[in-house]
């Protein structure tokens, strides 16, 4: 029995770390622009497809790390591009317009991909995954890789935020966006960088997801993206730690719900849990209520 639990814990860690990577993108953007980037889930989906294209179309067989970096850079640039073209002009417009624009961008991305690839695709294996056994516990090297890469990226982000000037600028902007330019910080560039990093993480998550669950479809951004968004909110949107926490909580709840209950209850449990958390902690577990001068 405990082996089953341990087995599911590995699965939960895998799913949770993927959710966490996506959730980070949402939280980073929310932190600097107080905006929900509804296109983020679709960038996640593009990450999976980008990996597919790179793996299948290129005549040269590239190593895993190179593909990962390429995917992150390409999706990152796309994210920054969307910000520049669609969100920046709306910085002074009512907030809801930017959100709707994000929704629109997401729809454009999703349906373009859907039109080009109406049927789900299969992600090829990028390397030989071996199965390791520890007693009755089986773990594949793929799972270890996914969890390892995800954790590595999260640690890298943590370093970026706490030890670099970019990170400091990002945190400053999320505190008080108006005074930051007065201190000589190029706010626009920082925001673009934030989108680049956030989208890059989302793209990486897409690639990892495609490797873990090899069937990818154009609509997976909607399903997974919204779920990761919920994870970000459970943790407290805008909080980096919260995103990670929320991602693992949601991953854990989903995997455990499927493991021990009829699978149709999975979504019901996850969302009811979310609702329950929000009723008691409206700003998420690690979130802060917005400050308001009265």
């Amino acid at each position: 029995m405990t082996f089953y639990l341990a087995q599911q814990t590995i699965n939960a860690l895998q799913l949770g770390s993927i959710y966490a990577l996506i959730a980070l993108g949402y939280s980073m953007v929310y932190g600097v622009l107080v905006m929900i980037n509804f296109a983020h889930g679709d960038l996640f989906m593009l990450g999976a497809f980008a990996c597919l294209l790179l793996a299948v179309l290129l005549p040269v067989h590239l190593p895993f790390v190179v593909i990962l970096l390429l995917v992150m850079i390409v999706i990152g640039l796309l994210g920054a591009f969307i910000e520049r073209v669609a969100y920046r002009p709306l910085r002074d417009a009512p907030r809801v317009s930017a959100i709707i624009t994000a929704l629109g961008c997401g729809l454009v991305i999703e349906n373009t991909t859907l039109s080009l690839s109406p049927y789900p695709q299969f992600m090829p294996e990028l390397f030989d995954s071996r199965t390791l056994s520890f007693g009755s516990l089986t773990v594949t090297t793929l799972q270890i890789l996914i969890i390892g890469v995800a954790l590595g990226l999260m640690l890298g982000l943590d370093f970026l935020i706490r030890r670099t000037s970019f990170g400091m600028a990002m945190r400053a902007i999320s505190f008080d966006a108006r005074t930051v330019p007065l201190m000589g910080i190029p706010v626009n560039r920082m925001i673009s960088l934030t989108f680049f990093v956030g989208a890059g993480l989302g793209g990486a998550a897409g690639m990892l997801y495609g490797l873990a669950y090899p069937q990818i479809s154009a609509t997976m951004g909607v399903l997974i993206g919204w779920k990761a968004f919920i994870a970000a909110v459970i943790g407290g949107i805008g909080s980096i730690r919260g995103a990670v926490l929320g991602g693992f909580i949601l991953g854990g709840v989903e995997v455990m719900a499927v493991a021990y209950l009829p699978s149709t209850y999975r979504d019901l449990i996850s969302y009811s849990l979310l609702l329950a958390i929000l009723v008691f902690k409206p700003y998420g577990l690690l979130g802060q209520p917005p400050n308001q001068k009265l």
Partner: protein, 322 residues
């Protein structure tokens, strides 16, 4: 020319006359082959979308929240009505109105709960609660076998053009009456400045309840009409994609505007039909139009403005000549 249009707009008989003519026309369509079946379905869809759009506009536009859960109320109304017409009611001429009323009421009851949640939470966090609500409704339906679970249900086809027309008029009339009353003023005050509204003695909680309950009631009505025209409903019909479509209509046509709701619903439905040959590319073009529109007109085509015809007589103030 402008003077002429202005006096037409101020003529209090124009709109009721138009409605009467429209109603006569749709009734005639039932007995004479004036429209083919395809056109009728399109018109019914337009009508349902107008109801969805204007009811969501009440919460998202006038009250300034961001509810993404409207498809959930649609689902509640659809399934409630389907239960009535498939399992509980014998076939009769009362089936459709009863089904619709029941659907609306069930949706309104849940809307009331959502209103209670909105007392403590606002803005983005309320948006997420509405999202969770939508997902819960959808997965709850999937798990209840009595309503067919994921396999769906097949309600009898009962909706017709006259009924749709009737419900469109009722929806717009009721919402318009609400807006141009002290409750409507309270609702828009919440959007703009809840603290100031409180200081003016505005009954915030009452207004929020009214907005959510009315919005969800008509969302349920639309769902019921949809169920009875579509002859097949399943949980997948009422997911986030559907909610997103309704959102697109609202922000396209214009927030806080009934005329905008009509325009948004019409453009969306018609464009989707007209662009049918393009397949899934339709949903690339439409959002692109929306994004472009947001860049130039962030509040939508008729954002926060209203057709003079919709204003009640008491609000028609003489505008000073420029």
């Amino acid at each position: 020319m402008r003077h002429f249009l202005d006096s037409v707009a101020r003529c209090r008989w124009a709109l009721p006359a138009l409605i009467a003519v429209g109603f006569a026309f749709v009734v005639a369509c039932e007995y004479f082959p004036l429209l083919n079946d395809y056109s009728k379905i399109v018109l019914i869809t337009v009508g349902i979308n107008i109801i969805l759009c204007s009811s969501l506009n009440l919460v998202n536009g006038y009250m300034g929240e961001f509810s993404v859960g409207h498809a959930g109320f649609m689902a509640l109304g659809a399934y409630a009505s389907a239960l009535m017409t498939i399992k509980w009611l014998p076939a009769s001429v009362f089936e459709l109105p009863l089904g619709v009323l029941f659907g609306g009421t069930i949706a309104a009851a849940i809307g009331f709960l959502l209103a209670l949640l909105s007392f403590k939470t606002r803005g983005d966090y309320l948006a997420i609660i509405t999202l969770a609500f939508l997902m819960i409704v959808k997965s709850a339906i999937e798990n209840i076998n009595y309503v067919g679970g994921p396999r769906g249900m097949t309600p009898p086809v009962l909706t017709n053009l006259p009924w749709t027309f009737f419900w469109v008029v009722v929806t717009l009339w009721v919402i318009r009456n609400l807006i141009y009353s002290k409750f409507g003023r309270a609702i828009t005050a919440i959007r703009e400045d809840e603290i100031a509204a409180n200081a003016m003695g505005v009954r915030i909680r009452e207004a929020k309840i009214l907005a959510f309950v009315t919005s969800s009631f008509f969302g349920g009505v639309a769902g019921a009409l949809y169920a009875q025209v579509n002859f097949f409903i399943d949980p997948k019909s009422f997911d986030i994609v559907k909610s997103t479509e309704i959102l697109v209509m609202v922000y396209l046509g214009g927030i806080a505007s009934l005329g905008g709701s009509i325009i948004g619903a019409v453009i969306f439905t018609v464009l989707l039909q007209v662009l049918q040959p393009l397949g899934t590319w339709r949903m690339v073009i439409l959002p692109l139009i929306l994004v472009l529109l947001m860049l130039f007109r962030p509040r939508g085509i008729m954002g926060m403005r209203e057709l003079t015809w919709f204003l009640p007589a008491g609000e028609l103030f003489k505008r000073p000549k420029p």
